[in-house]
Amino acid sequence: MKRLDPSRRILLADMETKGLADCKVFESRGGYQALKKALSMPPKDIIETVKKSGLRGRGGAGFPTGNKWGFVPQNSGKPIFLLCNADESEPGTFKDRLLMEKNPHRLIEGIAISSFAVNSHKAYIYIRGEYAKAASILERAVEQAYSAGYLGKRILGSSFDLELVVHRGAGAYICGEETGLISSLEGKKGQPKLKPPFPAVSGFLGCPTVVNNVETLFTVPWIVEHGGEKYAAYGTEQSKGTKLFSISGWVNKPGVYEEELGASLKDFIEYYAGGMKGGAKLKAVIPGGSSTPPLTAEEVEKATLDMESMAKLGTFLGSGGIIVIPDQLCLVKLVERIAEFYWDESCGQCTPCREGTGWLYKMVASIEHGNGKEVTLEDIKKTGRNMMGVTICPLSDAAAMPILGFVQKFPDEFLEHIRAKRCPYGETH
C-alpha cells in the first residue's frame, strides 16, 4: 500500500511545531531560506524549476503552475500583480485555512518567491471573509515579515521590492473563481469576467495578473529549496507531488492530511480518517469538494488520489475536499443542500446558471419533500446537461455536475422518494 512516510511530508512537515506562526520560530525551523536562495537565482530559472516539478494548481482546476507563470508578458509596460487565492469556499474544503493559521510565514515566503519569479512588486492575499482568525494571523505575520525585511523595499539586501496586502472578502463563493476574485478586489461586484482577455494578460486593474491558490504558493519554497526533480519524484505521471486532503463526514477522525498523489482513497479513509464512524456502511464519497460528482462504494475501492484515476471514474480530484457519506444518510437531502448552495451562490450573470441553479434546486427539493414525479428526474438530467459548458465561469458546471452525478449513480434513491411521496429517511435526520 502506497502511503506517505511522515518524514517525507512537504506541506505539513513542521505543522506540530508550537508557535510556528511567529517569525522567529519559523526562522529557527529553516524558514525564509528558500527566499534567500530564490533571490540569488535568475527569475526564469525559478519558473523552470517549478515547471520541472510538475506542480499543478491546488485550487481545484489543476493548471500547471509553471506554465501559468510563463504566460505573463514581461514587456507590457504595466505592473504585474500576484494574487493569492485564499477564498477557500468549496464546501468540504478546509486545507488552506490550516496552512494559513498554523504556518503563515511559509505562505508569505511562497508569495515572495513567486512574485520575484513573475516580476511582481505588489501581491494580495484575498481571504474569504469568514476566515477572520486566519486573516488576523496573516496580518500579524505580514507585519513581522515587513519588520524582518522579508517584505518591503530591497528584500534581504537584493534589489527586489514587494508589497503584500491582506484583503478580506465578504463571503461570496464566486469570488474564489479567479476573475470573480479580481472583480471583487477591484471593488466591483464579485462577478467573473469574460475571457479573452485572460488574467495573465489583462487581469487586476487591466494589468498582467497571476492568481494562485494558497496551497500552490505554500509548496513553492520547498520546490525552490529541494529542486523540481525532487518534487516530481512524488506522485504519479500526471499528478506530481503531495497534496492536502480535507476529509469530513461520517468518519472517526475528520481533518486535514497530507498524502502523496496516487494513494488509495479507501486506505486514506481507513488509515488517516480512522474509518467509518460506528462501523457504518459507506454509501458514497464526494472526492474533491461539493462540485465534484460522487463515487459509489464500489468505485471508492479502486479509486486512487490523483487526477488520472478520478478522471477515469468521471469525477475530479478538485480541491481535495473528501466528504464521506454513510448508508443511513439521505442522498436526496444531501443533493437538495448542494443545489441550494449553488442557487444561492450563482452570481446571476449568465442565463443558464442564474436560472438553472434555481430550477434544479426547486426540482430536487420537490423530490425530497414528496412532490416529485418520475418526469422530474428526467427534467433534472436535461436541465443539468443544458447548463454545462455554456457559461463564463465553471459555477454552472459545478452546480450541475454533482446533481447529475448523484441522479445517475443513485437513481433508485430518488425513485424511492418519488414513489413513496416522502423522504424514506424521515424529514429530520
Binding site: 442565463t351 426547486k362 426540482m363 427534467d379 455554456v390
Partner: protein
C-alpha cells in the same frame, strides 16, 4: 488609410474576408447571417452574459459565444448546426422559466427579442412546474417604467448609463435568480438619454411612458428620417399609424458617424409640438390688438402687393430650420421678384460648433441646417446675412417689410433678439409652426409645416447631408416655404406644387451645390453623405 490585415474564415459554408480583430458575431452580421442575442449591442462593450450567440467552431471542444470570439485565419464556424440550435433552445428555455409571459399586456410585444427568438429557436411548452420568481413591477423611474420580472438581465441599460451617459444610475442588485436591475433607492434617471434605454431593452423591462400603451407596434410603419431639433441631425425612424396618419414614436436609427444608436430625449419626445394647441392653424392678422384668422389668399395678396411696390424694401429672414431645397427655392424664386435682401435666423453665438456640449450628442445650435445655409449662401452669393448686416439695413431705414420664414417648434432667444431689432414701422410676417410670445409684434402669423410634414435635405454640424422625409400630411392649413414662394410668384394659390417638388429640386439644383455632383434623391445614402470639401457649383 492604414491597411488592416484581412482574415479569411468560413461561416455556414460561406467564405468571407474580414479585418483582423473582428469578432465572429460581427463577421456573421456583416454577411447577413443572423445570430440570436440579447446582450450584444454594436455600440456598447461586450458583456457576454446572455449566452445566446453560441456558435460551433471547428477544433474547439465547447460552443463559444460569437460576440467575444475574435476571428482567426481559416476558422470554420457553424451558427445553425443541431448542436448550436439545441444549446440556444436550452438557453431560451432557461431564460423563460421565470419570465412572466405577460405578452398580451406587454407593450414590447411585437418587437420583443424574447418573442422573436422563441418563435425561431424554441417553440416548446414550458417544463417549469413551480412558482416563478417575483420581482418589482411597474416601477416609476421618471420617463421610464421598469418591470424587473420581464427583464432578461442583459445589462445593456447598465452598460449604457456607465459607458455612454456616464451617469451610472443603473445597476444589477442581488445575485443569482434574484438579480434585479434598478436604480439606487428607485431614484429617477438624471440623464438626458433615457429613451434609448427603452429602445435597447430587448424585452418589456424598460418601457417609455411617452409610448406605453399608445399603439401596438404592428400598427406602425417606420419611416427613415432625421431629427431636426438640433444641429446634430441624429438619424431617426419615425413611427406612424397609417390609418390615423399620426406620429407615435421617434427612435434613433443607427449611424456610426453621427449618432451611433442613440438620440436625446428632446429629439425623441419633443415632437408633441406637432399636435400641440399652440400650433398656428391658419394665417392670423393682428388687427387693433385682435387676432383675426384669415385665408391664405389674403396674406398672399397683401404681401405680394408689398413686394411688387418695393422689392428692395423686403427682407427675407430664413430660419436655418428650413431645408436646403426651401432655401434655394426661396432665394431663387424671390430674387426673380426683385427681392435682394436675405438673412438667416440662427443663434449666432453657437452656430458652427461641431462638438456636442454635453459630450454625447446635444448641440447648442437648436436648428438643423445652419451648415446647409452657409454652404448655399456661398453658392447663391448671399453675403450680408448676419444679424449685424441686417441691423445696418434697419438703421438705414430702407426696409419696409420682413418675412421670417421656416420657424419650427419652440424657438428661443435667437429669434427674440432678431425680432427686437426690427423697427416698429416695419411690417413683419412670421411663418412658424407654433405660437410664441416673441411673435407679439408681428402683423401676420402664417402656419408652417413641421419637419415631419416636409421632405428635403439638411446638413448637420458635422457637414453631413441627410434626408428628411415627410411622414404625415401638413397639419391644418400649414404650408412649406416652397408653397409660399410659388404663391408669391403667382399672386394667388390656385396652382399647387408639382409632385415631388423638393425631391426634384434636390436633384436639379441642390445636390451639385452640396455634394459637388448631381445626385438622385433615391440614391442619396440613407446615412447621409459628407459635404463636398471644395468646388461650389
Amino acid at each position: 488609410m492604414e491597411s488592416v490585415k484581412q482574415v479569411e474564415l468560413t461561416i455556414n459554408d460561406r467564405k468571407m474576408k474580414v479585418a483582423a480583430g473582428t469578432t465572429v458575431f460581427q463577421a456573421a452580421d456583416k454577411a447577413g447571417i443572423f445570430i440570436p442575442h440579447f446582450c450584444y449591442h454594436p455600440d456598447l462593450t461586450i458583456a457576454g452574459c446572455c449566452r445566446m450567440c453560441l456558435v460551433e467552431i471547428k477544433g474547439m471542444p465547447k460552443l463559444a459565444i460569437s460576440c467575444n470570439t475574435p476571428v482567426s485565419e481559416g476558422m470554420v464556424v457553424q451558427t445553425e448546426s443541431p448542436k448550436v440550435k439545441d444549446a440556444v433552445k436550452a438557453v431560451l428555455e432557461l431564460q423563460l422559466i421565470n419570465h412572466p409571459l405577460d405578452c398580451p399586456i406587454c407593450d414590447k410585444a411585437g418587437e420583443c427579442r424574447l418573442q422573436d427568438n422563441y418563435a425561431r429557436y424554441d417553440l416548446q411548452a414550458s417544463r417549469m412546474q413551480y412558482e416563478k420568481g417575483h420581482k418589482p413591477k411597474v416601477m416609476d423611474l421618471g420617463p421610464l417604467v421598469l418591470d424587473a420580472e420581464r427583464c432578461v438581465l442583459c445589462a445593456r441599460c447598465v452598460r449604457f448609463t456607465a459607458e455612454v451617459t456616464k451617469t451610472n444610475e443603473l445597476a444589477i442588485y442581488n445575485r443569482g435568480d434574484r438579480s434585479t436591475v434598478g436604480t439606487y433607492n428607485n431614484q429617477p434617471f438624471t440623464n438626458h438619454y433615457t429613451g434609448n434605454l427603452a429602445d435597447m431593452c430587448p424585452v418589456g423591462g424598460l418601457t417609455a411612458k411617452d409610448f406605453r400603451f399608445q399603439m401596438r407596434v404592428w400598427f406602425l410603419q417606420k419611416v427613415q428620417s432625421v431629427c431636426t431639433l438640433c444641429a446634430r441631425g441624429c438619424n431617426t425612424l419615425v413611427s406612424v399609424n397609417q390609418s390615423r396618419m399620426q406620429l407615435y414614436r421617434i427612435e434613433p436609427r443607427r449611424n456610426p458617424s453621427v449618432n451611433k444608436s442613440w438620440m436625446c430625449d428632446t429629439g425623441r419626445w419633443d415632437y408633441h409640438y406637432v399636435y400641440d394647441n399652440s400650433r398656428i392653424k391658419t394665417p392670423v392678422r393682428h388687427e387693433d390688438g385682435r387676432l383675426v384668422e384669415k385665408p391664405w389668399l389674403e396674406w398672399l395678396t397683401e404681401t405680394k402687393e408689398g413686394v411688387n411696390r418695393d422689392p428692395k424694401g423686403v427682407l427675407i429672414a430664413i430660419s436655418t430650420q428650413a431645408t436646403n431645397e426651401e432655401i434655394v427655392d426661396c432665394v431663387q424664386g424671390l430674387r426673380a421678384l426683385g427681392v435682394e435682401n436675405f438673412c438667416w435666423i440662427v443663434d449666432e453665438a453657437v452656430v458652427g460648433e461641431t462638438q456636442p456640449y454635453d459630450g454625447v450628442l446635444r448641440h447648442r445650435d437648436l436648428t438643423a441646417n445652419a451648415s446647409g445655409f452657409l454652404k448655399l449662401a456661398l453658392g447663391l452669393q448671399i453675403e450680408r446675412y448676419h444679424y449685424a448686416d441686417v441691423k445696418k439695413l434697419f438703421e438705414q431705414g430702407r426696409l419696409k417689410q420682413v418675412l421670417i420664414l421656416g420657424l419650427e417648434g419652440k424657438v428661443g432667444a435667437w429669434v427674440s433678439s432678431f425680432m427686437a431689432a426690427i423697427p416698429r414701422d416695419v411690417e413683419v410676417t412670421v411663418h412658424a409652426t407654433n405660437v410664441s410670445p416673441y411673435f407679439e409684434s408681428a402683423r401676420w402669423w402664417i402656419p408652417n409645416v413641421s419637419s415631419f410634414e416636409k421632405s428635403g435635405t439638411v446638413v448637420n454640424a458635422l457637414g453631413r447631408v441627410q434626408k428628411l422625409q415627410a411622414v404625415i400630411p401638413p397639419q391644418h392649413t400649414a404650408r412649406n416655404i416652397h408653397e409660399i414662394v410659388l404663391g408669391l410668384a403667382q399672386g394667388h394659390d390656385r396652382i399647387s406644387l408639382p409632385k415631388a417638388h423638393a425631391e426634384n429640386l434636390f436633384e436639379a439644383h441642390v445636390s451639385a451645390r452640396l455634394l459637388g455632383r448631381p445626385v438622385n434623391w433615391r440614391e442619396l445614402d440613407p446615412l447621409g453623405e459628407n459635404l463636398a470639401s471644395e468646388g461650389v457649383a
